[in-house]
């Protein structure tokens, strides 16, 4: 039955079957390969791909935290926050960025420079990341923007908060905030996890010192987004945490009052509570407008600040270095007394000048002060008397006392702009200048000239520590009810007036650190300062306050910029007739009230001439204001649990 071709067919079908078998084997191998791949992706690497998938899905938007508030002693906000209106833009939501820019320019006030900056930012970041077109627009611009919003795809009007300073009287000590810079990110570790585009950080002053705590914790919104970056739903929101608020020791009223007094002057004023070191006022003039820094500084304004010879950006109270001038005489006298070099009634004769080591040393009083003892030396600020005292004392013993009272080192903590100044001695000169000490330089040091450099705050601290009876205090800016050893002691003393404690008991019972060997010496200096301000012939007698409630005891000083030539001396050239830049800096330190000292003050007027004429009148007004507000301050202190 089988045709020849059917044999052929059978052979053929066997061949087909054989080859099919081979193919089937190949298929099995391929199938195994695919299963292997599935195992590798879905089992072995599933967590890796799960993470990748979540990374796809979720996108986070960080929310800048609200900065903590800085308040004054009476809880007035001196650095607060205000609502600001901003314009954000999500580039990918806009069909045509260029067209949008043109449209935005007609609505907002945007410069071409800003636009080209925005273009650069857009090119750098992901298209779904928002950029801030303008971080502070006016209400009218904001409402106009909202009106035209329907034709501005991708634009988002945002209401946010930003730093606001009610006035600029405290600009220097508060400092300012500004956009995070690349350098900030490098130097401040805490910013790394905090960085949100458009966030501000403290650049100087308290804002910088407190930055880490005041900045708060960022919040974030987490959204599920699709492949085009469109938000599908909100998964999570963390509001973040507003920064910690701080209460300072500053009195905003006095800050404003003082800054008004210093208007148009290059000057500085420090006021300190002599018992607990509370800094009541710290004003540097001229000031700058800190609000200008918050939303990106205007270049013209910046240039005007930089070029201003009165250096408005410098906080003169802690960064300005000036020779202490005659204000140092209090310490020279104290050091000499403590070291037994002189007795209060030892006298020298001042003939207007003295010749020593082949050089002439002049007294500021050309005709001389005649017979001068310690009290008169301080009262009249007789240079010749202090030349003699300094010569006997020597610069090394003087520098020891000066350092003890707070000169030559930084007082505050955490202010990068603070400078330490110089208290010269023989070792210092060898180390930093590489020369031996000349005896003549001791005489210059004795009247606070030469190498001596100090900040107004150091002079204030020095005065405060004399005024409180010679005890060490730690100046502070942040309000604190702790650390009032001196006040505890005072309370004890008031309750037990006939029980003078020996020094070692002061140390052990009240944890005080006396800066004296014999407190009588401190009292002598205080008395001499009283005579300087309140007795005829005193250098600041003209500006005394007669009301015993306000009466202060002070010491004038002027720090020389240029030494007078012999010709100028002969011609009796007055400071006022010198060019501004060559005039002496005027200084004045004081404490008040004399009968029951509470506050110390230092005043500096750059190129103000003599301390008696330029600085004392300012001190007088500030002292009166501070003492008038003392009861208010006292009330707050007792309310918040401070003793006394």
């Amino acid at each position: 039955m089988l045709s020849p071709s059917s044999g052929n067919t059978v052979i053929k079908s066997k061949l087909i079957g054989r080859r099919m078998f081979l193919l089937t084997a190949a298929k099995a191998a391929v199938m195994a390969g695919i299963i292997g791949r599935l195992v590798s992706l879905q089992i072995n690497e599933r967590s890796k791909y799960k993470t990748l998938s979540d990374k796809n899905r979720f996108r986070e938007w960080k929310l800048a935290p609200e900065r903590g508030i800085i308040k004054d002693f009476f809880d007035k906000e001196i650095a607060s926050n205000e609502q600001v209106y901003q314009v954000h833009l999500i580039p990918e939501n806009s069909k045509d960025i260029e067209k949008l820019f043109v449209r935005l320019k007609t609505i907002l006030n945007i410069t071409d420079k800003k636009l080209s900056y925005l273009r650069r930012v857009i090119a750098k970041q992901k298209p779904w990341e928002p950029i801030i077109v303008s971080d502070n627009i006016s209400w009218s611009e904001f409402s106009r923007l909202n009106l035209f919003l329907h034709e501005l795809e991708g634009v988002k009007p945002v209401v946010s908060v930003a730093r606001m300073y009610p006035d600029n009287s405290s600009a220097h000590i508060l400092g300012y905030v500004s956009q995070v810079s690349a350098k900030d990110l490098k130097t401040k570790k805490y910013l790394k996890e905090l960085h949100v585009p458009g966030m501000s950080v403290g650049k100087t002053g308290l804002e910088r010192k407190l930055d880490q705590e005041i900045i708060g914790k960022i919040g974030f919104q987490r959204y599920e987004v699709n492949a085009f970056g469109k938000r599908i739903k909100q998964i999570l929101i963390d509001e973040g945490q507003a920064g910690k608020s701080f209460k300072t020791t500053l009195d905003f009223e006095i800050q404003k009052f003082t800054s008004k007094l210093l208007k148009d002057k290059a000057a500085a004023v420090c006021v300190m509570d002599i018992f607990n070191g509370d800094i009541v006022s710290l004003v540097s003039s001229p000031s700058f407008e800190p609000n200008e820094f918050v939303h990106g500084l205007d270049k013209d304004y910046w240039n005007s600040l930089i070029k201003n010879g009165m250096r408005p950006l410098t906080n003169k109270t802690i960064s300005g270095l000036y020779p202490p001038g005659s204000t140092i005489k209090t310490l020279v006298a104290l050091s000499a007394l403590e070291n037994g070099i002189i007795k209060p009634l030892d006298t020298f004769r001042c003939k207007g000048k003295i010749e020593l080591y082949g050089e002439k040393y002049h007294c500021w009083e050309k005709d001389g002060h005649g017979i001068v003892n310690l009290r008169k030396g301080i009262q009249r600020s007789c240079d010749v008397y202090f030349y003699e005292v300094a010569r006997k004392l020597g610069v090394d013993r003087l520098s020891e006392t000066a350092k003890k009272f707070g000169l030559g080192k930084k007082i505050l903590d955490g202010f990068i702009e603070e400078r330490s100044g110089v208290v010269p001695n023989t070792k210092w000169k060898k180390k930093f200048i590489g020369q031996n000490w000349y005896l003549g330089e001791t005489l210059h040091s004795g009247i606070g000239q030469g190498y001596f450099q100090s900040t107004p705050l150091q002079l204030c601290l020095m005065t405060a520590q004399i005024a409180n009876g010679g005890f060490e205090i730690k100046p502070r800016l942040i309000f604190d009810t702790e650390n009032n050893n001196l006040k505890n002691y005072l309370k004890h003393k008031n309750e037990n007036p006939n029980d003078p404690l020996p020094t070692d008991l002061l140390v052990s019972n009240f944890n005080l650190k006396p800066l004296f060997k014999n407190q009588e010496h401190i009292n002598l200096i205080k008395d001499a300062m009283y005579s300087s301000s309140n007795e005829p012939g005193g250098t600041s007698y003209r500006h005394r306050l007669e009301n015993r409630k306000f009466t202060f005891a002070g010491k004038t000083g002027s720090s020389q910029i240029k030494r007078f030539t012999e010709e100028q001396r002969a011609a009796e050239v007055k400071q006022e007739s010198l060019p501004y830049k060559d005039r002496d800096h005027a200084l004045f330190v004081a404490f008040a009230p004399y009968d029951d000292p509470k506050y110390a003050i230092s005043v500096l007027v750059e190129h103000g001439g003599s301390g008696g004429k330029a600085a004392a009148p300012i001190a007088k007004k500030v002292i009166k204001k501070v003492l008038e507000r003392h009861d208010l301050r006292q009330k707050v202190n007792s309310l918040l649990g401070e003793t006394v």
Partner: protein, 374 residues
């Protein structure tokens, strides 16, 4: 026995219905239901355009498959050249009257559907070559003059499709044709020579490639080359499959596809979507279904008497297998993205039609397994 064979034509309807391979029918039906689920998910859990039209197509073409099963195997054998020519004319029609979409001309507008003749050609070529190699005697198979026609028949549509341009489909058509020739007993030598000739012509062929096709091949070799461009698809597909894990993210929970990270999720990447939502076990389930289908087709090839039937079934099974694995290897990042649908699962009427046509002819080989063809 032989007598029985001679009365095949008088099989009763009951015989015919009983001889249908129900495991194959059932597997195809289950796969169709799974594909509807997947399509429903691509529409975001709603009965929208893709789902509805996929359901319609599946049932229409599934019906066609069943109907075609009862057509005489002799008919397929006698008409196979005609069918090939018909499909070839349709392909030519695409060249002149085709619809252009995203840079390639693949479709004919038939008013009720857009037909993609290249999909049909996958079956047409197998049908043609099965008949051809069935007819020539075993002695002649390896003679050059008898290989001339198969080469022309294979190369002509491949070139037409490749220049649409649709490289993926062209390669799959060629794979089907080569499979028939290999099974029919053409010596390995000829394939080697052809491969060499192909390699020699490759540089010329590459010069005809569109830039996007070149980029696809380069991107396959290094997907990270361009993570937001052509490599994006492979990376996102791998992320979707990998993140599915063992049990998947759950039905309608595939974030990658739901959030549009997955490209072409209705068509080429339907397996990715399924794999993301149903995980390793889901993928395995699909693989098993496909394996069953291939196995049943091969089994029909085993029982059918005629070499035409055997050649067709074996070749179709192999081609079907190739379509499946090429698509899977593509979405698993093992092959470049060439654009090939996953049989039955993927959205696309012509592909569904071609597969059901192939299955129908296969089933006819089963129903009329003892009918001799000449």
């Amino acid at each position: 026995m032989f007598r029985a064979r001679s009365i095949q034509s008088s099989l009763t309807l009951k015989d015919k219905i009983l001889s249908v391979d129900y495991i194959l029918v059932f597997s195809v039906f289950i796969l169709g239901l799974v594909s509807i689920l997947a399509m429903y998910s691509t529409d975001g859990g709603e009965f929208k355009y893709h789902t509805n039209s996929h359901i319609l197509r599946f049932f229409v073409f599934f019906g066609m498959f069943i109907t075609l099963s009862f057509i005489q195997i002799r008919f397929w054998h006698s008409q196979s050249y005609i069918i090939y020519v018909l499909f070839f004319i349709l392909l030519l029609g695409v060249k002149y009257f085709g619809l252009t979409s995203s840079g390639s001309k693949r479709w004919l507008d038939l008013y009720f559907m857009n037909l993609q003749p290249s999909e049909l050609m996958k079956i047409g070529l197998i049908l043609f070559l099965a008949k051809y190699f069935h007819r020539i005697s075993i002695e002649n198979i390896n003679q050059i003059r008898f290989l001339f026609l198969p080469i022309v028949v294979l190369v002509a549509p491949v070139i037409l499709v490749a220049t649409q341009p649709d490289l993926g489909t062209a390669l799959l058509i060629a794979a089907g044709g080569i499979t028939v020739a290999w099974l029919a007993g053409v010596r390995v030598k000829f394939f080697a020579i052809s491969a060499l000739a192909f390699l020699a012509l490759l540089p010329i062929a590459i010069s005809f490639l569109k830039p996007y096709q070149k980029s696809r091949i380069l991107t396959f070799l290094n997907p990270e080359r361009d993570p937001l461009g052509a490599g994006y698809q492979i990376i996102q597909s791998k992320i979707a499959i990998g993140s599915g894990g063992l049990f998947g993210k759950g039905f309608l929970q595939g974030s990658q596809s739901y959030l549009d990270y997955l490209p072409e999720k209705h068509t080429d990447f339907i397996f990715t979507l399924f794999s993301e939502e149903f995980g390793f076990f889901g993928s395995l389930f699909i693989l098993v279904l496909y394996a069953i289908i291939v196995w049943r087709i091969v089994k029909i090839g085993n029982v059918t008497r005629s070499n035409f039937g055997k050649l067709f079934c074996y070749s179709f099974a192999t081609a079907f297998f190739i379509y499946v694995v090429v698509n899977m290897m593509m979405v698993l990042g093992l092959l470049p993205i060439v654009g090939s649908p996953l049989p039955i699962m993927s959205y696309g009427g012509s592909s569904m039609m071609a597969i059901m046509l192939g299955l129908g002819i296969t089933m006819s080989c089963k129903v009329y397994k003892d009918t001799p063809v000449n």
